[in-house]
Symmetry: C2
Subunit: 434 residues, 2 copies
């Protein structure tokens, strides 16, 4: 237990989370004389922005989720530990983690909390089995099984009403993930599966993208949002805006419009990208400093990303609320690097940096192949150029040369060609109502 | 229902199974004026001989399991149907299949049954959760999660006895799959995971390969079997021969030697490649012709691979007993092509072929990178040349150019290099005793 305290009396840094925030913070501390313990409940650095491509059969899970251990194996000051963090004790300065092999308690001198976000159903957790989120490898493979499986079911289904239900796909939430997911299901139906079936025409699939807001990709501003809406429509995706979700069950989704009128959509596959919440860790931190989390479950942080009264605790990425920053990789990466630098400076007696300021490098969202919207500095563009930008940036941030090679190959196969290389799926679970 | 009877009055061929037998039979009928319905409970053509590479993180599931539908999309006389075949009625000439969308009954004029084999625990089905077989994508991903997960657990485990149990891997059955699996776990432990851990040295892992027979790869003959045993030993795998399995539970495996002495091996990961049985379909066929299945659950077939009294029913691959052929891909491929040709000849009024005769093209089994044993005609060789042969043959039979490209790349990464590209896994299930 608490092996973090063993080595040479160097300051002990515990990093919670191996996502963008945690991994980039850890790497930024590579040359600092500290002992780092990176704790995560999976053994992978998951490139979440591409998870939808695993779900739609373009990429394999290995391509977007390299082993954290392998990435960091040459970083001598770091150990990687599998475990679900269940406790942070700010007074005792310890982190408790559990795994199938038991419980560990690790002491820290500096703590970086970057546990990211989870799918939130806004209190309607009973929606979950019918409309999985897209946060983990398990989520992606389950959705892959359901998406490809639904076309198979439609092919053998003889009842036309049921067949239509198998051919209807509902994506809840028109943020980047929802837009990308809906776009890729549309490409699948209209292009990649062409000629694959006899009893059905995959083109007849309905893809419905639902959001309570009046526009998709709201954070991109009016102009790009409108362009994205047009691209989505061109793909044959139905965009139901100003629409909220009243219920989700085994038969489909019940939506409610602004006037309160409810409509049932019969759909066998639904996915949820509407809600983002945080892990219980944010609340745990907030309570210990006598605060409350915000509406999205985030904990308030100081201008230097530390916790009030705890300059040794750094909250990075989705978990912290600072200038209401968006939940994107860049915020986590920059926060992780900033906090790592603060720690280095503190340990070497240097003055701390100025408050954390997010440098917006731009926003990118891809709608489908050759179509994306991009906002880089003063430039706002939609279409092929935006898509090329998207391609380059994603390849750049994908960790590992080998993953870049096969990813580029699989993109060529899927975007220049039309097939999907990674259709093989685990057997899907079709949940039934209790 | 029975849509197979709809088209133009052409003879209806139903093929059960999209493995080697079913797929090659279907392809061989591409130019025959028949209507083919290929029914399988998955949507993939699974290249089973490489499944162990999915389990050990070398290949992705998509690389070895391309979509059957996509492979056959240009074959106009064929429809692919997802469904688990639950009934074959020889008198009514119908096949019943169920899926989540209901039950279908398909009529046939000619039937090819190629449903393959399943893992058999010889009546000890309670072993299954603790020692999964390796027959499906789900099996491979679960084993991947457990194998990589066990090293993670060992890294955080503080009790040395428990740690050793996490570091002990038991493979039951020293046929090709068992040997390949044990060899790859050894390569993982001794080479690929090097430098990945702090508290443990992956090299300390024990890999125990167990078989009741006195030699591994028994079908290869004494000389090659002895060479394989040496290669296995050189890799650091413990080979426990003349050893049977008394029990498997959450703590490990209890083995029994020839003298009846039982020994418990504490091991958190076990896999079962000892027993092969067939699906209930073989028994169903046997019963309808007043016969019994053999010890391995196979049904007797005539010299032309048909069922006695039913020249319209062809049994291909693992399900049928003919000259006691081994359960390898070549037997299924040749049987599938033979039966397809018989059907073509019958329909065009030609005389039937001579009885089916298996052309043994040789046997190959790889122990680890650069090591294999091969038996091709009079040539028996072990080592690098055998391994090159193995490489070529497996690439040749892998379906799809794209899969060959990425597979070759991943092999280069794993065999010339040392890493594994596909370590990302679903969350493993560590079963507990009831």
């Amino acid at each position: 237990m608490a092996r973090g305290s063993a080595r040479q009396g160097r300051p002990r840094v515990v990093v919670i989370g191996s996502g963008f925030g945690g991994l980039f913070a850890t790497r930024a501390l590579a040359k600092t004389r500290v002992d780092i313990t990176l704790i995560d409940r999976t053994t992978q650095h998951l490139f979440q922005p591409l998870l939808y491509q695993v779900a739609t059969g373009i990429l394999s899970e290995g391509e977007i989720a390299p082993s954290t251990r392998n990435i960091l194996k040459k970083q001598r000051n770091t150990r990687v530990q599998l475990g679900e963090v269940t406790g942070i004790d700010l007074a005792a300065r310890t982190v408790t983690a559990v795994s199938s092999s038991g419980t560990t308690v690790t002491e820290y001198d500096e703590l970086i909390v970057a546990a990211g976000s989870v799918t939130s159903y806004f209190g309607n957790d009973h929606f979950a089995p019918f409309a999985p989120g897209l946060k983990t490898i398990d989520d992606a493979l389950e959705l892959r099984g359901r998406i490809f499986g639904a076309f198979e079911m439609a092919e053998v289904e003889t009842d036309p009403v049921e067949r239509d239900a198998w051919m209807t796909f509902v994506v809840v939430g028109a943020g980047p993930t929802g837009v990308e997911m809906a776009g890729q299901i549309a490409e699948l139906a209209h292009r990649s599966l062409r000629g694959n079936f006899d009893a059905i025409d995959p083109k007849d699939a309905r893809i419905i993208l639902i959001d309570a807001a009046p526009a998709p990709l709201g954070t991109f501003g009016h102009k790009l949002s409108a362009k994205a809406a047009k691209q989505i429509g061109d793909l044959g995706v139905e965009l139901w805006l100003n629409t909220s979700i009243a219920d989700v069950d085994s038969r489909g989704v019940v939506v409610r419009d602004k006037q309160g009128v409810e409509t049932r959509i019969d759909a066998k596959v639904a996915m949820w990208s509407a809600g983002v919440g945080t892990t219980p860790l944010a609340k745990m931190l907030a309570e210990q400093i006598g605060q409350e989390v915000d509406r999205r479950g985030r904990v308030a942080v100081e201008p230097d990303l530390t916790l009030a009264g705890h300059p040794e605790v750094h909250v990075v990425g989705d978990m912290g609320t600072r200038d209401n920053l968006p939940g994107v990789a860049q915020v986590a990466i920059q926060g992780g690097r900033y906090s790592a630098d603060q720690i280095s400076r503190k340990l070497s007696g240097k003055a701390p940096n100025a408050p954390f300021k997010y440098k917006d490098k731009g926003s990118l969202a891809t709608v489908a192949r050759f179509r994306a919207v991009a906002e880089v500095g003063p430039i706002r563009t939609a279409g092929f150029i935006a898509w090329c930008l998207w391609l380059g940036v994603h390849l750049l941030y994908l960790v590992g040369f080998k993953n870049r090679v096969t990813t580029l190959f699989h993109w060529a196969v899927s975007f220049v060609g039309s097939t999907r290389s990674e259709r093989a799926a685990t057997l899907p679970v079709w949940p039934t109502d209790k």
